[in-house]
Symmetry: C2
Subunit: 353 residues, 2 copies
C-alpha cells in the first residue's frame, strides 16, 4: 500500500475488504486484503442516558431474591469511541426491531462494522441499545405479577421475537423464505450468525413515543450537535426527538424507516432547515411491506421541503448501488454505502466553524 495517501487508502477499503471476504469464503484467486491496520482512538466508554425509577413488589418469584424494591427502566445504554482529533460531527447509531446495537458492529460474515468505520473516518460514534432492549433494562414486574396470580394473563406485556422465516421478507433477503432476490448483497452464507442478533422486543408494551426518544434528546444535547442515524423501527424516533426539542440535533439520517412523520397530522416546523436523509436499499417496490413505506416517506420529504426543509430521499439503486437488503449496514457492500454516507454528512451536515 506504500505510496497511497490516507484518504486514498480509506476509499480503497470497501472494495479491498470485499475481495478478502470472497477469498475467505472460498473465492478463487482474489488477492489477499490488507488488514485495515491498527486503530487509534482518543477515548472510549459506555454510559446510560435517561431512566426512571419503578417501585414494585413483584420483581421476583424466587426465594433467593426479594420481590420488593426499586429498579430503573427507560434508560438507554450507550457505547462510544472518539477518534483522535475528531473532524466530523458525532453520530448516534440507533438500531431497529428485535435487534440491538450489535446491528452496527462486526457483520455476520466478520467484516468491519459501521461503528468502527465511522471512527476511522473521523466521526465520534455512539451506539445505543433502545430502551427495554439488550443492555437497556426491561422490567419483569408484570410477568411476575401474573406468575404470582396477582394479575390476569392478558395483562402480560406484548413482548415478541421475530422468527427468521417471517422476518426473511421483512429484511428483504427475498420475496419469501427462503427465496433470494437476484444480486442480493446480504451475506446469507453467514445468516446463522445474523439470526443470533435478534432479541425479544418490548416496544409494543411501551408508551408512544418510545422512552428511547427523550433519552436521545438528552444525548443530543450532551453531544451538542449529533447526527441521529436510525434504522427501520427506530426510523420515527429522531423525528420525534426533533419535535420534542431541536437542541443538539445537527441532522437526521433515516435508514429504511418504518415510518416518516405524517404531513397530514404532524407539525413540520421542527424539520425546517434541518438536513434530513431518508435512505432505502434495493427491491423496495417488490415488497408489499416496504413499498408503501417508501411512498409515505416520499410524501413527507416533499411536504417538509415545501415547508422550508432540507430533506432528501435516496434509493441506493438511483446512485448506482444495487442489491441491498433492509440490513444494508451488514450487506457485502456495507462499507461502500458507509463511505457514501460519510460524504453526504460531510457535505450536508458539516461542523460549522
Amino acid at each position: 500500500m506504500a505510496g497511497l495517501s490516507v484518504p486514498t487508502l480509506r476509499r480503497a477499503w470497501p472494495s479491498l475488504r470485499a475481495a478478502t471476504i470472497l477469498l475467505f469464503l472460498g473465492g478463487a484467486a482474489a488477492a489477499a486484503e490488507p488488514a485495515p491496520g491498527p486503530l487509534t482512538i482518543a477515548e472510549q466508554g459506555s454510559f446510560f442516558v435517561g431512566g426512571r425509577d419503578v417501585q414494585s413488589d413483584t420483581l421476583s418469584t424466587l426465594p433467593a431474591y426479594a420481590p420488593s424494591g426499586t429498579i430503573s427502566v427507560d434508560q438507554i445504554y450507550v457505547r462510544y469511541q472518539n477518534p483522535v482529533g475528531p473532524s466530523r460531527p458525532p453520530l448516534v447509531l440507533i438500531h431497529g426491531c428485535c435487534l440491538t446495537g450489535k446491528t452496527w458492529e462486526t457483520t455476520p460474515d466478520g467484516r468491519m462494522g459501521w461503528d468502527e468505520f465511522f471512527v476511522r473516518r473521523g466521526f465520534p460514534t455512539y451506539v445505543i441499545d433502545q430502551a427495554w432492549r439488550g443492555r437497556s433494562a426491561a422490567s419483569p414486574a408484570q410477568i411476575d405479577a401474573v406468575k404470582m396470580g396477582r394479575a390476569e394473563p392478558n395483562t402480560l406485556p406484548a413482548v415478541f421475537s421475530a422468527g427468521r422465516e417471517p422476518a426473511w421478507a421483512i429484511f428483504r433477503f427475498g420475496p419469501e423464505y427462503p427465496k433470494v432476490f437476484p444480486g442480493m448483497q446480504f451475506p446469507l452464507e453467514a445468516q446463522a450468525e445474523f439470526w443470533k442478533q435478534m432479541v425479544p422486543d418490548w416496544s409494543a408494551a411501551l408508551p408512544v413515543p418510545n422512552p428511547t426518544v427523550p433519552a436521545l434528546s438528552e444525548l443530543a444535547k450532551r453531544l451538542k450537535g449529533a447526527v441521529l442515524v436510525s434504522h427501520s423501527q427506530s426510523g420515527i424516533y429522531p423525528f420525534q426527538t426533533a419535535a420534542l426539542d431541536r437542541t443538539g440535533i445537527r441532522a437526521i439520517v433515516a435508514i429504511e424507516p418504518a415510518a416518516c412523520p405524517d404531513p397530514a397530522k404532524d407539525d413540520l416546523a421542527p424539520y425546517k432547515d434541518l438536513p434530513i436523509l431518508v435512505l432505502f436499499g434495493d427491491y423496495v417496490d417488490a415488497s408489499p411491506r416496504w413499498a408503501p413505506r417508501l411512498k409515505q416517506c416520499r410524501g413527507f420529504v416533499a411536504a417538509a421541503n415545501a415547508a422550508g426543509g432540507r430533506a432528501e430521499l435516496i434509493l441506493l439503486p438511483e446512485i448506482g448501488i444495487h442489491g441491498n437488503s433492509h440490513m444494508l449496514m451488514q450487506d457485502k457492500n456495507s462499507l461502500d454505502i458507509a463511505d457514501w454516507l460519510a460524504g453526504w454528512i460531510e457535505k450536508r451536515a458539516a461542523v460549522k466553524s
Copy 2:
C-alpha cells in the same frame, strides 16, 4: 509526565485517576489527572458463540409479527479488543447476577473499566453477555403462550430483577440499605448510574449448567488458552467449563464467586495443575450471605490443592487493599486491583513459549 517510562506511567494511573475523580466530585486542590492518552488497538469486534434453534408458534401476540417461526437462543454475545503486539493471554470477562458485560466497562463514576485497562496492559480482552441476558437473546415463547391462554400462569419463566434495596447488602455497600460500611470504596455518589446497569435475569429458568458454560468452552477453544474471569453468579461457570473440557483454558480467576466446586460431590481432577485464583473484597465476614460462600471456597481450594491443584484464595485486605465491595471492578481503587490482578496472571498463567 515527561521522563516517566511507559511501565511507570502505567503503574501511576490508578492513583492518578483517583485524584481526578476527587477533583471531578469537588475535591479541593487535587492535581488534575493527565488523561491516559490515546489507545491503539490491533483489532476489535463482536460475535456470538454457541446457540440453539428453537421453533415456536407463540413468538408474538401482535398482528404485525407472525407468531410462528424459528429463533436462536443460548448463544453468548462477545465483544473484544486486541492490543497491538499482545504479550499476555486473552481474558474472558464474565459478569454476574442481573448484570451484563457493562459490568467491566466505564465505571458508574466515569472511570476506565477493566475492559480497557487490560487491553492497555497487553491482554486481548473478551467481554460477554451471559446467555439469555443483555445482547444474548432470551425467548418470549412461554410468556406469549400464557398471554394467548395456551399455558397456565405458573409455567411463566422465573425471570427476576434485583431491587436496589435488597441488592444493597448483596453488593456489600453496607450491612443493609442504605447504611454504608466505613471506608467503602464503591462510588456511591454515582449509584444511580450503577442501578441502571441491572437487567432482568433468566438464569433460574435455564438448565444447569447454564448455557453460558458450553459457549465459554467453545470460546476458550477458539482462543487457545484463555483466562476465564468470573464474577459472583457466574463464579461456578469457569469451573463447570473446565469440568466439561480443559481444552483452551489457561487459568481461572473467580471474583467473589457465589459458589466454588463442592469437594464432597464434584470431581476435582479437572482442576489439577490449573492456576486458580479466588478473590474476595472486604467486609465478607460481616455479611451473612457472603461469609458462608468464602468458607465454602476455602474448603474447595484446600481440597483442590490436596488433589494436585494450584489454587489460591485471597482476600484483598490480606494484601493491604481495603474497603472493597462486591463490585470491586467498579470501586474507586478498581485499577489498583486490576493492576495487582494483571501481575498475578503474568506470574501464574504466563504464556508458555
